[in-house]
Symmetry: C2
Subunit: 272 residues, 2 copies
């Protein structure tokens, strides 16, 4: 069974998509065809959207779902005329919130992913540059500035996690690879030792690690299960010995790894 779902926003559409997807994921058996219409910020654009909704209704033989995060009442009214099944966030929650807060909504359009919150935004971009500059142990002299230093063997998920923490939460995360040198040394590198309280470890199942490494360097010593077993075992021993908090990233998305690290370390979001 096919069903069209529209995500319509006056801004980027990111909130409408996130919300719509989290609801649609509850109906696994239905094959949703998703259409995203960002920047629907005039009545004219809403009219275009209405045409597309009606066309989808005809094609599907059933009315489409509409997830909208549009603030302007006139634009929302136009969308309602398409007679889809509306999941209308602002229409549903804004009035009760106005009453609860005893304040009028300012009806700010599409602001939640805009540059509007300038301080927060600059912080996020700064943090992203920090993550890129301090990737893979490239530099260590900026560790004073770091909120977090992620360690782990090659391909355990350090870089994507650092970048996500920066982009989503404005957190400055450096990362440092634990290589065979560190393992043979049986101790933390000096650069890390003085920032011990900022260190967090990632680990990963050796089988999964071998698969990921194999994509990069097929049939190498680096990607062999024997080498992966050895490195993972040693690095976990190091975490325990040095009392470094750590997480196994195997079954987690970068969003989950990031939010779990925040929860485990108590590091605060740097934005908002």
């Amino acid at each position: 069974m096919k069903r069209t779902a529209f995500f319509i926003s006056d801004g980027t559409g990111i909130t409408a998509e996130a919300l719509g997807n989290s609801l649609l994921m509850q109906f696994e058996k239905i094959d949703f065809h998703k259409v995203i219409l960002p920047y629907t910020d005039t009545v004219e654009k809403a009219r275009e959207a209405v045409k597309r909704i009606r066309r989808a209704a005809e094609d599907d033989g059933v009315r489409p779902l509409i997830f909208d995060t549009i603030v302007d009442e006139k634009i929302r009214a136009e969308l309602r005329s398409a007679e889809g099944c509306m999941v209308d966030i602002f229409g549903t929650f804004l009035e009760p919130l106005e009453q609860e807060l005893g304040a009028k909504s300012t009806y700010t359009v599409g602001s939640s992913h805009s540059i509007a919150s300038k301080v927060g935004y600059d912080r996020r971009i700064d943090a992203m540059n920090f993550a890129l500059d301090n990737d893979d142990g490239a530099r260590i002299r900026q560790y004073d500035e770091a909120d977090l230093i992620l360690v782990g063997v090659s391909r355990s998920g350090k870089t994507p996690t650092c970048i996500y923490l920066a982009l989503q939460y404005g957190i400055k995360a450096a990362n440092f690879p634990i290589t065979e040198d560190e393992i043979l040394d049986q101790k933390l590198p000096k650069a890390l030792k003085i920032h011990r309280h900022k260190i967090f470890g990632l680990t990963i199942d050796p089988e999964r690690l071998a698969l990921i490494r194999h994509e990069r360097k097929p049939n190498s010593r680096y990607s062999s299960i024997k080498q992966c077993n050895y490195e993972v075992e040693e690095v976990e021993m190091m975490y325990r010995r040095e009392r470094i908090p750590f997480l196994n990233s195997t079954d987690y998305s970068v969003e989950e790894i990031s939010t779990r690290i925040l929860l485990m370390t108590g590091i605060e979001r740097r934005i908002r």
Copy 2:
């Protein structure tokens, strides 16, 4: 006026935060104290949350707001006992959606930012590695694989945009810097020419560019307003001459730049 707002989720909390923030941004004059409680996936954890909500109510002298994206009805019921002002997404929309779709919700917990959608997830991480490997013109031999090649002068926003497109939408975006060499040549580098249909340009106001460059290299020729003026003028002329679609990134967040590029180019999201 201070008011506490809780974002409570059985998963990462990313959807609850996005939704809550987009609603709270409509009340600019109120000073919200935001508390995020991810992975609230048992009744016990919900009880802990209830305690925190009640404490906030006492401290503030007014009941907190609760934005939750919890699927499990028992956990939601526990949260309701805190007597906050609940903005209850699943409670509000799931039943009408079940009726509309003639299907029962599967009550899948915290899945929207999990690794659940394995294909989509791998694609996003692949795209992120692609963006990092193909940053700043570092390589050009993978351009066949690219969905998009972003061009622009140094510090016009190429790298963050490529990474965001990868992480959010699984789009493989490379980026290539337009330096004085390219400007003096008065033509597109050969590596780009054969992929002309994939090229998209970024530009930026020279004043803003000078500021950003100044942070990197203070008082340099590179960050001088004269140099910035020159480069921006030339690169915009190049875009026009070569008929490269382009966008001025000055007033836009990386989310806005990314979604606008998708809208302007028609490139499809590679996930879901």
